[in-house]
């Protein structure tokens, strides 16, 4: 019985690759980037276009972190431990953009 597991010339079966989800994620990321390009060329710059870009970037970030970095399939406590600290960045963003606006007013 134990001879099988200690065999030196053991031939192991390698299971076939399962890459469907990876290529689907790649397709989504590429498509969003392509749409961003189209908008950069054909849409007038402004707050509306900027907010579309921000939303699309967040969608891309969701797919990279969720699928490529596998966070979507981790335990809930790990997901929250990574996602909750992002609140600090949101705070910094709001605080400093407001600050930039008031510096502009003072110039």
């Amino acid at each position: 019985m134990s001879d099988d597991s200690h065999g030196t010339h053991e031939v192991r079966e390698i299971p076939p690759a399962n890459t469907g989800l990876i290529w689907r994620t790649f397709f989504i990321l590429s498509a969003i980037t392509a749409v961003e390009f189209t908008l950069a060329y054909f849409m007038k710059a402004g707050g509306f276009r900027t907010s579309i870009f921000v939303i699309m970037t967040l969608v891309k970030a969701f797919y990279i972190v969720g699928e490529f970095m596998h966070l979507k399939h981790e335990v809930k406590s790990l997901i929250w431990a990574i996602v909750v600290p992002i609140i600090f960045i949101v705070w910094l963003l709001i605080a400093l953009i407001t600050e930039g606006g008031s510096i502009f007013q003072l110039r």
Binding site: I14, V54, A61, F68
Partner: protein, 265 residues
């Protein structure tokens, strides 16, 4: 028989009920190994660093006026009075000198990085299947993508530093007199594209990201070497590929944000 007896004595511990959700040694409440968990927390700290840089870009950009055709003239010109429109700054592609191709080269760089991220997941997936040949193949593709990206960034930097052929004439007040100077390219104190802070932020943000790509390539080469010499096969798992893979995807993630906030917006 003797073996079964010792086995039984070892598993008598299972009479004691462990709470699988508390940290008390021997259990993984977050279902990931120590190394992977620490990589996640390192990446969170790195997220804060990059966010600080990008939010600083937002602050400084908002404190300058944007180019307005009604105030500054119908045709866009570089000036230190307002923040430049990115597609007018980044409009060159190697070997296509003098042709206005806004953002094309940055787009190519973005696709290179996304694609190298895909080959990295494919390497991780091959590691789960204990397929050494595939891990080696996809690690090599990932390394190639990383090096291509670094090369592209080097070209982008050198183009940015050398500037356009005509340069930009800027009038400044020096000791109460207006002095006209023509600036070519960019450095940390002056640049032909816009306010000095514009080039500073370009060098700091893309430079810091490029440093991350460089260290990612070094780590990938190390992982490739160890996988191809059979260390991970002997170890019985390819978890190191996953850990370095997390870092590599993070580098791609940062680029997605740099691409949006530096080049598109």
């Amino acid at each position: 028989m003797a073996a079964t007896v010792t086995h039984n004595t070892l598993t008598t511990d299972s009479d004691q009920v462990f709470d699988k959700k508390t940290w008390m040694g021997g259990v993984e409440p977050m279902k990931v190994s120590y190394g992977k968990l620490m990589m996640w927390f390192f990446l969170i700290s790195d997220t804060f660093t990059f966010s600080a840089l990008l939010v600083t870009y937002g602050l400084i950009r908002y404190s300058y006026p944007a180019w307005d055709p009604i105030i500054h003239g119908e045709v866009f010109k570089f000036s230190n009075l307002y923040w430049p429109t990115p597609e007018k700054v980044y409009n060159s592609v190697p070997f296509l000198h003098g042709i206005d191709l806004p953002l094309i080269f940055v787009g190519i760089m973005t696709f290179i990085l996304i694609f190298s991220s895909v080959t990295m997941v494919l390497a991780v997936e091959a590691g789960h299947r204990m397929d050494r040949k595939d891990v080696e193949k996809y690690m090599l593709w990932t390394i190639l993508g990383g090096i291509t990206f670094l090369g592209s960034q080097a070209w982008e930097w050198s183009h940015f530093i050398h500037g356009t052929e005509t340069g930009t004439t800027i009038s400044e007040l020096v000791n109460g007199k207006t002095v006209q100077t023509t600036i070519f390219g960019a450095n940390l104190v002056a640049n032909q594209y816009g306010p000095p802070a514009f080039a500073d932020l370009f060098f700091f943000i893309t430079g810091f990201h490029g440093t991350h790509v460089l260290s990612g390539v070094v780590l990938n080469v190390l992982i490739f070497y160890r996988a191809s010499t059979g260390l991970y096969e002997k170890r019985g798992h390819y978890e190191m590929v996953e850990k370095v893979g997390l870092y590599w995807h993070f580098v791609d993630l940062v680029w997605v944000f740099v691409f949006t906030f530096f080049y598109l917006v």
